[in-house]
């Protein structure tokens, strides 16, 4: 129950920060069970021919760390993270390709893994420091008015509502929102806040410092289409606006709706979107798509497939919504 996948999504940083990131991961005091580099470059290269990378791959083999270099589909890093999220590991340590964790980061994050914990983050530090005088709360309601709590050293363990950049999270506990555009603006905020809403603790912890060499090129900053950021911000705001509701989206068959009627009365504060309002009253699926983008995370069939489900459909709905 403690396997850790390290997931690195990379774009445009083969010869800048990615080697620093990989070196830092390889030299952690706690080894990961597997490292996967998801290569989202516009023009992918075979890095086995590069001197430094060839040494990295040999070091991984010598240290007994499984690794894979996968070529991603350029749909945005949220798609990459969702793949990592569903690969069957217990925990995923996601590390941005311009983030350089100190050697003890994974061990110190991992020390806080517990059945009630959904994600653990440390400090994400970019020199020069600008936010030392702030006392951020880490609450979602303050996201537009305070700096991220991870942007300064963290002096004690604190429960927050969302995390940023690089962190360790419980795999399979919540889905990344695939309705975001390829810029994936706010993807990690939505993801960790989703875990929080499911009742998991989201922690920031001391002595787990990652240096964030913000790079004006590559990664999300390769995307300059402002409309996509606005589209994602809109989707983010819609989801946050419904955060006091249990969003139910029934994009499934009539019979599935009938079965769901046996679970609905037990769901508190449900906001229902439905294909068959004469069976389960609610708003339309088109409206759900308009508000939340991709609605696959509410597909009971995708969920049952992910869970390798053997129980009843009714129990699957209970697992999903109760």
């Amino acid at each position: 129950m403690n396997s850790v996948l390290c997931s690195v999504a990379t774009r445009g940083r083969y010869h800048t920060t990615l080697p620093l990131t990989l070196n830092a991961i390889i030299n952690q005091t706690k080894k990961v069970d597997k490292l996967i580099i998801f290569d989202d470059n516009d023009e992918p290269q075979d890095m086995r021919k590069e001197l430094v990378y060839s040494y990295f791959f040999q070091m991984l083999d010598i240290k007994g760390i499984k690794w894979e270099w996968l070529f991603a589909n350029k749909k945005g890093q949220h798609h990459i993270h969702q793949i990592a999220n569903t690969m069957g590991f217990d925990w995923v340590w996601r590390v941005d390709d311009d983030a350089i964790p100190e050697p003890n980061v994974l061990q110190n994050l991992f020390n806080y893994t517990h059945k009630n914990v959904g994600a653990i983050g440390g400090a994400i530090l970019t020199p020069p420091f600008q936010f030392e005088s702030f006392k951020p709360t880490g609450k979602i309601e303050n996201i537009n008015t305070e700096p991220n709590i991870q942007w300064s050293f963290i002096d004690k363990v604190k429960e927050v509502e969302h995390l940023h950049c690089s962190f360790l999270y419980r795999a399979g506990g919540h889905d990344y929102n695939l309705g975001l555009s390829r810029v994936a603006h706010r993807e990690e905020t939505l993801f960790t806040y989703g875990l929080f809403k499911k009742g998991y603790k989201i922690l920031v912890v001391p002595n787990a410092n990652t240096w964030h060499f913000k790079n004006p090129n590559g990664g999300i900053r390769s995307e300059t289409n402002q409309a996509l950021y606005e589209q994602d911000e809109n989707l983010f705001n819609n989801l946050i606006n419904y955060s006091d509701k249990k969003i139910v989206i029934l994009n499934c068959g009539m019979g599935d709706h009938v079965v769901f009627t046996h679970v609905l009365p037990k769901i508190k504060n449900a906001e229902v979107f439905t294909c068959y309002p004469d069976i389960v009253p609610g708003r339309s699926i088109a409206e759900a798509r308009q508000l939340f983008g991709n609605i696959d995370q509410w597909s009971i069939y995708i969920k049952m497939h992910q869970w390798k489900w053997k129980g009843s459909l009714e129990d699957a709905y209970r697992k999903m919504y109760l």
Partner: protein, 147 residues
């Protein structure tokens, strides 16, 4: 009166749905009761009394009147179960432990016939008559459970 709901939802690729029972005509011959077929326009009529495109309230009324019902794995088995009127479901490749209800009589020939992934579209699953119980087994169950 017995309701039969012979067909599962039509597939988008036009192929026969692997969940559709193949021996309805033989089975109907063996049933010594008035039969009402329910379904939608375009489906093959198997008995003189075929009621198409019923509203949910009409369907509820009909279910209330029936002695029992026989259905493939379709919307109707859930609907009748919800109304606490139990009947016989004829299974083949979908799993009654997932999609069925224990209050119904679930006739599955062999669990080895179930498709491995129960949660994908049915378009890719070929119809195979050999994966269903024979009509004689259905009649035996009907007489035993709904005399």
């Amino acid at each position: 009166m017995i309701i039969i709901s012979p067909y599962s939802k039509a597939l988008r690729n036009g192929k026969p749905n692997a969940k559709n029972y193949p021996y309805w005509k033989e089975l109907i011959e063996l049933i010594d009761e008035p039969i009402v077929q329910i379904g939608i326009a375009g489906e093959e009529q198997l008995v003189p009394d075929f009621r198409k495109n019923l509203s949910l309230s009409e369907l509820r009324e009909l279910v209330n009147q029936c002695k029992t019902w026989i259905s493939c794995d379709s919307f109707f088995q859930h609907f009748a179960w919800d109304k606490k009127k139990y009947g016989i479901v004829l299974w083949s490749v979908s799993d009654p432990l997932i999609f069925g209800h224990p209050e119904n009589i679930n006739l599955l020939k062999d669990r080895n016939n179930l498709v491995e992934n129960q949660f994908l579209w049915w378009e890719d699953t070929e119809h195979d008559a050999n994966k269903f119980v024979r009509p004689e087994a259905v009649i035996e169950s009907l007489n035993a459970n709904f005399p």
